[in-house]
Symmetry: C2
Subunit: 197 residues, 2 copies
């Protein structure tokens, strides 16, 4: 087997997700993943530190993309514009050819409480990345933290809608709509007029 394998990372990811769904995350070994993908264990470890990274390896990239997009937004940008720029940059990870992986990933995480905790921590990590970048743009700490939570809520809502089996809309459009929706709710909550019977 050669050292270079075309699409090795994606083949390993697809094999891992299929096995996690079939046999459970805990019961699946790296050797089985590599075998299913027709690759070696050493190829697996060139792409992922461990099997958990198959599910969460993208989060470092996304956190960096969020942060960079916020910092690169023009000086005239509002805080919401900065969040929109962050969400749009995430579209690179949610292309149509990856759409079929989303329900598998979701099912694997829903079946395992440790992975659910990881997923919650991922949200906290994204919030921290966004808040940090907003603070560098002279947002006060409270606004930066609140805006970052709005950004993460918009992201998770948009991801869930994008990942729905019948969805055809691109991620960017869905994310923009989710952010606008949250902005409307924030205004209503801020004016304190909505009764909640």
């Amino acid at each position: 087997m050669g050292r270079w394998e075309p699409n090795a990372r994606e083949r390993l990811e697809r094999a891992a997700l299929a096995l996690f769904v079939e046999h459970g995350y805990d019961a699946t070994t790296v050797a089985e993943v590599a075998d299913r993908a027709g690759l070696s264990k050493s190829t697996f470890f060139r792409h992922f530190a461990d099997k958990r990274e198959v599910l969460f390896g993208g989060q470092d990239l996304l956190a960096a993309l969020f942060s960079d997009a916020i910092r690169a937004a023009p000086p005239s940008a509002t805080t919401i514009d900065c969040l929109a720029a962050a969400l749009e940059t995430a579209a690179v990870a949610f292309t149509p050819d990856r759409h079929d992986l989303a329900p598998q990933r979701r099912a694997v995480i829903a079946a395992n409480s440790e992975l659910q905790e990881r997923e919650l921590l991922k949200g906290a990590r994204f919030a921290s990345a966004m808040a940090g970048a907003l603070r560098l743009r002279a947002a006060d700490d409270t606004t930066a933290r609140l805006a970052a939570e709005m950004g993460v809520l918009a992201f998770s809502t948009a991801y869930a809608r994008w990942a729905a089996p019948d969805n055809q809309q691109p991620f960017t459009e869905i994310a923009r709509a989710a952010l606008r929706d949250l902005q409307d709710r924030a205004r209503t909550l801020g004016t304190g007029t909505n009764v909640c019977p």
Copy 2:
């Protein structure tokens, strides 16, 4: 040693925090905690499942208090009123006689990455409790989730201010001010007018 010990829970908590600060969380054993408190290991285990529960045992109670307060708010309450009621009910856990424990707890958690993750998960758990109670009051899902994040931010901001060594203000007052502050930021973010240069 008798089975009933006055203030056993608080004595154990104070002994544990002191030892965690002195020797580190990982290096401290339950036997050492019990010994420092002048109590037996079995008394420790009547109050805490393990040493981590000394730091996080209050979170079940707080999550339940948040949820109950939101559900019990009058029908005329706005969403913000519901959050205010939740935060006020937490004051029971942050009384002046517990003020000196806060910096110790904070220092212990700051020194240990696993405990930091626990602390982040605690925030996510509080958000989930608040959002669930708001949904039961007919809040739509997006508003419930955004409001719950505001509630958790107000709580964590208020806790940090209350725990500051020179603070003399009661928790309830601090929490009300933090929530009002967040409400103002939400309105500004919602109207989308704040430039973030």
